[in-house]
Amino acid sequence: MTGKHEIFQSLKQQILQIEGFKEPLLTEKTSLGRINEAFPNNVFPFSALHEFFCSNKEQVAASSAFIAALLSSHPYKTGTIVWISSSFQLFPPSLKWFGIQPHQVLFLHVKKEKDIAWAVNEALKCSSLSAVVGELPEMSLTASRRFQLAIEDAGVGCFILRANPKNLLTTAVSRWQIQPMHSKIEDGFPGLGHPRWQVKLLKVRNGKPGTWDIEWSNGGFHYVSRLAVIHKTVQKQTG
């Protein structure tokens, strides 16, 4: 029996490796902290296909920020980033807030979704890049499969922003939704605090989905206990 179990374990590991969940080096962990635990091997698979669902512009901005923060927090992937979108919306100087040198990002603006898919696929084949971010609302199953194959070859991280998607069937390793939430300043000062998001991991292959509240401050992720936040808003309402 034990022999069988071991065989299953090793086969599972092999499949995971093919899918992009490489056996982690100790130092390769991102500073994602607790979210890492949602993934197999307790490590965020950087070189994989991740999709971000957004239902409005605010969520697109929050997702972009979260992606930028993810990219900057990865210790070994500090190369060039290609950002492919249909319109020019990102404000490059702000990327610096999330730890990315804006002049290290190459932006490609193409109108048609078909062309965006082509460009993402082409970029994923280029192993010198660290990551590709694409704004592709309708990613088809075929497109996602192609991306997955390219990722397995070249090991580039792929982050797809999907605004109001219709097609839910893709081969993405993880599916996220990032929602902005109330910021907070210590000691009750007026004004806005650091950006805070409710990070929902809707789907993760071979892992455990979950929801976390995260604040981005001082160049790192910080977990927020949900109670504290709720408490604050209640106070605001009564006062």
């Binding site: 512009k57 605010e58 697109v60 901005a61 929050a62 972009s64 920020a65 979260f66 930028a68 500090t78 190369g79 060039t80 290609v82 020019f88 919306q89 990102l90 404000f91 490059p92 100087p93 702000s94 990327l95 610096k96 807030w97 999330f98 040198q101 804006p102 002049h103 290290q104 990002v105 190459l106 932006f107 490609l108 603006h109 193409v110 062309d115 082509w118 460009a119 082409e122 970029a123 280029c126 192993s127 010198s128 890049l129 660290s130 929602q179 902005p180 939430m181 109330h182 910021s183 007026p190 004004g191 806005l192 950006p195 805070r196 998001w197 981005w216 605001k236």
Partner: protein, 499 residues
């Protein structure tokens, strides 16, 4: 190596062209007319009209008197320049160096070309038969010099002048065969110097004193004592490859094979000389005389066959083969010194100047155009829209720091969108605002941060920016344009979304 030139003369160039367009004219005597100084004169007459004694520059009325049923058409003045250009372009199938020789001739530099047809006779025969098949009456001449070939095409009895024999061939020809202007010819005629043999014996100093340097120059050029160049219709690129096809090519596969073949030759040559191409042009010459071509650009000098082929292959579908392509030409129009990089064992993935990244950018540029790829650098402006600029190259480094002192939204609306707000006077943040039919209640706010117009760039109102958070935790960047005043309340705009 001695030079060989072919001169082609079209005695009835424009009339032949009209006959080609309207086959009914072939058996008619017809002339082309134009009005010069209020007289209608004949610009060109076809061979049948000439047989009736009609000459060029005759007054039309005189010609009508000679031959009443003469067909008359209007002359197109642009034809005499357009036609030689077009035919010279077509003649590139015989030699890479083809030039128009106005008003009715073509010059070809035939060095190293004739052996492809077997010998010079076969070469000229092919040219003549192809052109006469197209409906042009032609005369050709071939010699070591342009002057001699020109004279042979127009006045000579033989078509091919052997190597170094131009003097003998020219002796019996009239002086007009030397390409002289009208005045010089008239003076020579007056003096009884009708043939070249008459003037060749006169000492050069006397000739120069009497007729100026032009006559002497033409004489020397014809004999071969002075060099003369021609200006080809297509400038010859020093880095170019040609591939003539025996059978016309019509399929994509055929075009790809031709391209691959040309690229292999060109790149091996570039590689030997330590150069790389930045811009290349691939041109296909069709059977019907048309051409179509595709151009590629690279971000760095390249001699990588696979990469260049990939760049071309994105555009191959724009080549129209129609009846078939008979010649492919690949030219490297911009070539630069390429530093042959030492192969690295460990590809470190950093930087924009990595070869693979550059190759990727080339592919993007080939498909979408250069302007779609953007990279940004910081500039020292507070006005948000001007706080960054497009980098012109991938190598360009920032000259100043990206500013981090004030929070800025990650998504910026351009242009800012008008919103309706409820805000207390004078400079408090809004209590609520309406954007796209949705009401947002402001819970928290920061500001104002005043950003003034840079008057040396643009005049206008200043902006008072507020960062606001609504009741659902969404963060926005809004601004009030200008001051409150008595008559009109200022407009508010939404400018961006914070993360």
């Amino acid at each position: 190596m001695s030079k060989r030139f072919v001169s082609i003369w079209f005695p009835y160039l424009t009339t032949d062209w009209h006959a080609r367009k309207q086959p009914a004219l072939r058996d008619k005597a017809f002339v082309l007319k134009a009005t010069v100084r209020n007289r209608v004169i004949i610009i060109a007459a076809n061979s049948l009209a000439r047989a009736q004694g009609i000459r060029n520059n005759m007054v039309l009325a005189d010609a009508k008197a000679l031959y009443p049923s003469l067909h008359v058409m209007d002359d197109k003045p642009t034809l005499t320049t357009q036609l030689p250009d077009r035919i010279a372009e077509w003649c590139i199938r015989f030699t890479p160096v083809a030039a128009a020789d106005y008003p009715a001739g073509i010059l070809l530099d035939a060095c190293g070309c004739t052996h492809l047809w077997g010998n010079e006779e076969a070469y000229l025969k092919d040219i003549s038969s192809r052109l006469s098949h197209r409906g042009y009456a032609i005369r050709v001449g071939m010699a070591d010099t342009i002057g001699c070939a020109w004279a042979m095409a127009r006045y000579g009895s033989q078509t091919i002048v052997g190597k170094g024999k131009q003097l003998e061939a020219l002796l019996t020809l009239p002086v007009t065969a030397l390409r002289l202007n009208g005045e010089t010819v008239a003076v020579l005629q007056k003096l009884g110097l009708r043939h070249i043999k008459d003037i060749i014996t006169i000492p050069h100093t006397s000739l120069r004193r009497r007729f100026g340097p032009a006559l002497l120059q033409r004489l020397k050029q014809a004999i071969g004592e002075e060099d003369e160049g021609i200006v080809p219709v297509y400038p010859i690129e020093p880095y170019g490859e040609r591939l003539p096809c025996i059978e016309p090519i019509k399929t994509r596969v055929g075009i790809e094979i031709a391209l691959q073949h040309l690229l292999t030759n060109l790149c091996s040559r570039l590689c030997k000389e330590g150069k790389g191409l930045r811009k290349a042009f691939f041109r296909a010459y069709r059977m019907d005389g048309g051409t179509s071509g595709i151009e590629i650009n690279t971000n760095q000098p390249s001699q990588n066959i696979e990469h260049l082929f990939h760049l071309f292959s994105i555009k191959i579908s724009t080549i129209e083969p129609k009846e078939g392509i008979e010649l492919f030409v690949l030219e490297a129009t911009v070539v630069e010194e390429a530093v042959i990089k030492q192969e690295v064992l460990w590809q470190t993935n950093s930087g924009l100047l990595d070869t693979k990244v550059l190759d990727l950018m080339d592919r993007f540029a080939a498909r979408f155009g250069h302007e779609t790829i953007q990279r940004f650098l910081p500039t020292e402006h507070y006005w948000p829209e001007r706080s960054f600029k497009r980098a012109s190259t991938l190598k360009e480094e920032p000259t100043t720091e990206w500013k981090l002192d004030r929070p800025r939204p990650l998504h910026l609306l351009s242009p800012p969108e008008l919103i309706e707000v409820t805000a207390p006077i004078p400079d408090y943040p809004p209590m609520s605002f309406r954007y796209k039919e949705q009401l947002h209640k402001v819970v928290k706010a920061d500001g104002p941060e005043r950003i003034e117009q840079e008057w040396w760039i643009q005049e206008g109102k200043h902006r008072d920016y507020y960062a606001v958070e609504d009741e659902e935790g969404r963060r926005y960047w809004v601004f009030r344009s200008g001051h409150y005043n008595d008559t009109k309340s200022p407009q508010w705009f939404l400018h961006g979304f914070f993360a």
